[in-house]
């Protein structure tokens, strides 16, 4: 199928293409919701079964780092939304600035995550033969940490994919591809990024704030 400018051959016009692309991304995010959803179910069952073990595990997590990371990620969502707005207004430099800011904030998040993971490794909190905790229900605390690594690890993987996507969008934006009136890839890239933010919005209280008052 041939392509004329931004219009792909299977579409009648750019409007149909834009709506199609948008619906495509929303349906993809629906699949991602169910993908993470399986892990949220596992979390729900085991937290209800082993509330004390979850509290003990959560206590080992660094709330300060987690809290800052939440703020950083929300900030990156803010800059991403502003990037879409800049594309709407056909402002190329502004678009690039906001895309780059989103990337930098996302990178900062991943950096903090890396530090947290290193800490866990040093404190023998990584599930497996090296896991060690001096409590009676250490086995169930290991389940908490399995969830911690599975959920934040999967989230981090999605962030890395997001960073690559942002880089590509940044490169094409610099070349002026998205400030000529058609900017669906920026919109849909933004949808993906906001979704990853929403997953973290739930992960933060569920992992870091369990029985914090104790």
């Amino acid at each position: 199928m041939e392509r004329t400018g931004a219009l792909f051959g299977q579409f009648r016009d750019l409007e149909q293409q834009r709506e199609t692309a948008s619906l495509g991304m929303w349906v993809f995010l629906l699949t991602e919701l169910m993908f993470f959803g399986g892990m949220f179910l596992v979390y729900t069952i085991y937290r209800m079964k082993y509330p004390l073990a979850f509290a003990e595990g959560s206590r080992e997590l660094d709330v300060v780092k987690g809290g800052w990371n939440t703020a950083i990620l929300i900030g990156s969502s803010f800059t991403m939304a502003l990037a879409v707005r800049a594309a709407q207004m056909k402002k190329r430099r502004l678009l690039c600035i906001f895309l780059a800011s989103t990337m930098i904030l996302g990178g900062a998040f991943l950096g903090v995550k890396y530090l947290e993971y290193m800490q866990k490794f040093e404190h023998h909190l990584v599930p497996g033969p090296n896991f060690h905790m001096n409590v009676a229900d250490a086995a169930q605390v290991q389940i908490f940490f399995s969830l911690y690594f599975a959920m934040t690890g999967m989230h981090a993987l999605h962030m890395i994919i997001g960073e690559v996507m942002l880089l590509l969008l940044l490169i094409y934006s610099w070349k002026g591809k998205y400030t000529g009136g058609y900017f669906a890839p920026i919109e849909n890239g933004g949808l993906y990024w906001h979704f990853v933010d929403i997953v973290w919005i739930f992960l933060f209280p569920l992992l870091y704030l369990v029985d914090l008052h104790r």
Partner: protein, 568 residues
């Protein structure tokens, strides 16, 4: 919009194949492996799934050979475990789930809605490649010893104790799952945004509604099994412990997560076949589909209610009795929309102008065998009955009636029905009818004895059995050999027809529907100009543009019992 110009009265001249169509639009292996034409991609799928059907069938052959004697004369239990596991995995994930959507859905949906292609043609091709990459992993696990956990991968056998290639196999299935997700996503978006002018939702063929419902299931269910299998791999490789009782994990949680997808998955396998059957029944009864809106909504209802019943696979696994009662009730409920469809097919046939071409034989076979399979499902939904027949051959017979008697027959019926459109050729009618009948006989001989075996108590997944069950097992194996012959014949004559088959017209049956409004085979862009739809679906009465002679109906005075109301 191209129309057939032959008037009913004149003798039609033999159809000429179109000069340029999608099959000769480009030559060479690269034009096929890098195509984005949904029709070519459909043929790529045809090759892949035929290969996996043969592979799954090969494992079935070994199983049936083993079960000829009570003491298990060919394989030990360990090998037998691997045989039925591989049979299940290959048939379910690499044949049944992708077959109709991948081949017929891909080929027909853009044609049926008047579009040039699917919404995302490159994703379509990617879906096929992802399928094959996942298949490679799974194939690797087969040739390096296979897996012995059953296709259901129950923990903790799969997550801790099994020494077989579980990790590789679940990675393969994980990857293949994304193929399903991509196809489902493509179909949903296409049906929403790519319809031709005038093609409203209530004018869509039921085939499209069925694939829309199927795609909803693919998109919502597959990610859950993907993460579940990933967690099993995590348990095996990273000692997560989610399903490890020694750490406080619950093996039943795996089953909940697994069946949350795998039950709706069976509706992924059957809904497209129901869509095919609807198209065939309307065409070969030459009658408007009875209760179109009911059939369309019933497709969606099956998709939704199908997600509410999964724990009926776990009645004896240790779930709470109250949950079991709820799931039992819901499992009865899911039969209702299926029954609605059967009523509507029957009502369509009633007083229709029925002809017995091969697709119709498959469609009628589908209806009968699906009803048997479905009704026996209700026995399984009953808690009291399930306690006795769970994990016996009764269950095996139940799902083979639906999957083979239903889905495979639907697939074959669809292949025959749309073969003229896909290839521009007709298959040999006499031979194809014979094959359909051979299939029907072979199928029933294979699987009906298994209902009896299960009722008498023979457990499934056993490499050997008490001697009193041998006669029924031998009958079943004999049937399987006849069934195998029935499957080989179409492969032979379809290939033959591509070169030597009679050239097909654009609308040989004839049928309503946009796909018959273009040439056989279609051009790459499907239609010369974008069609504009002004008619309702299956409206055989009112389509002078198709040059269809008005179908003959028995007039009231011709019926044997006078006083019957007229009206269809």
């Amino acid at each position: 919009m191209s129309t057939t110009t032959a008037s009913p009265a004149a003798a039609p001249s033999p159809p000429q194949p179109p000069r340029e169509h999608y099959l000769n639009a480009g030559y060479g292996i690269r034009s096929w492996l890098f195509t984005t034409d949904h029709k070519r991609i459909a043929l790529l799928w045809l090759i892949s799934i035929t290969f996996f059907f043969a592979l799954g069938g090969f494992f079935a052959l070994l199983i049936r050979l083993q079960l000829l004697t009570p003491q298990g004369w060919l394989f030990g239990p360990d090998t037998y475990n691997r045989l039925f596991t591989m049979h299940g995995i290959v048939m379910i994930f690499f044949f049944l789930i992708p077959a109709i959507p991948g081949v017929l859905g891909n080929f027909l949906i853009p044609l049926m809605i008047g579009a040039k292609d699917l919404a995302f043609p490159k994703l379509n091709l990617l879906s096929w490649y992802v399928f094959n990459i996942g298949a490679l992993f799974t194939f690797y696990s087969i040739v390096t010893g296979g897996i012995d956990t059953g296709w259901t991968f129950y923990t903790p056998l799969s997550s801790i104790y099994s020494n077989s290639q579980v990790s590789v196999a679940v990675v393969g299935i994980f990857i293949t799952g994304f193929s399903s997700i991509l196809t489902g996503l493509n179909f949903i978006v296409t049906i929403h945004t790519m319809r031709a002018p005038g093609m409203t939702w209530w004018r869509l063929p039921i085939f499209v509604w069925a694939h829309y419902a199927t795609s909803i299931i693919m998109v919502l269910g597959t990610p859950v099994v993907a993460i579940t299998l990933a967690l099993v791999a995590g348990d095996r490789l990273f000692h997560f412990g989610f399903f490890d009782p020694r750490l406080g994990g619950d093996p039943l949680l795996f089953q909940h997560l697994f069946w949350f997808y795998s039950h709706p998955a069976v509706y992924i396998m059957i809904l497209p076949a129901m869509g095919v059957t609807t198209e065939i029944v309307a065409t070969f009864a030459r009658k408007n589909l009875f209760g179109y809106k009911f059939v369309a909504v019933a497709s969606l209802a099956i998709a939704v209610i199908g997600f509410l019943v999964w724990a009926h696979h776990m009645f004896v696994a240790g779930i709470s009795i109250y949950a079991a009662m709820a799931f039992s009730f819901l499992s009865y409920a899911v039969a209702i929309p299926s029954a609605v469809k059967v009523f509507n097919w029957t009502a369509t046939l009633y007083r229709g102008s029925v002809s017995w071409q091969t697709p119709m034989l498959y469609a009628l076979g589908f209806i009968g065998l699906f009803v048997m399979g479905g009704m026996t499902g209700l026995f399984l939904a009953s808690l009291g009955a399930d306690v006795h027949v769970h994990d016996t051959y009764f269950v095996v017979a139940h799902f083979h009636y639906i999957m083979v008697g239903g889905a495979v027959m639907g697939y074959l019926g669809g292949l025959h029905y749309w073969w003229p459109k896909i290839s521009g050729r007709m298959y040999p009618e006499g031979l194809s009818r014979a094959a359909a009948i051979i299939l029907f006989v072979g199928f029933n001989l294979t699987f009906f004895p298994q209902f009896v075996l299960g009722y008498l108590g023979m457990p499934r997944r056993y490499a050997m059995y008490p001697p009193e069950f041998q006669v029924l097992n031998v009958l079943s194996t004999a049937g399987a050999s006849i069934l195998g012959l029935g499957y080989i014949l179409p492969i032979i004559y379809f290939v033959w027809s591509m070169r030597y088959g009679k050239v097909a017209s654009s609308n040989p049956w004839p049928a309503t529907g946009l796909e018959w409004q273009t040439t056989s085979p279609p051009p790459t862009e499907n239609f010369e100009t974008t069609p504009v739809v002004t008619w309702e679906p299956y409206d055989f009465e009112h389509r002078p543009d198709l040059g269809l002679p008005k179908p003959e109906r028995a007039q009231p005075e011709q019926l044997e019992a006078p006083g019957l109301e007229t009206g269809d």
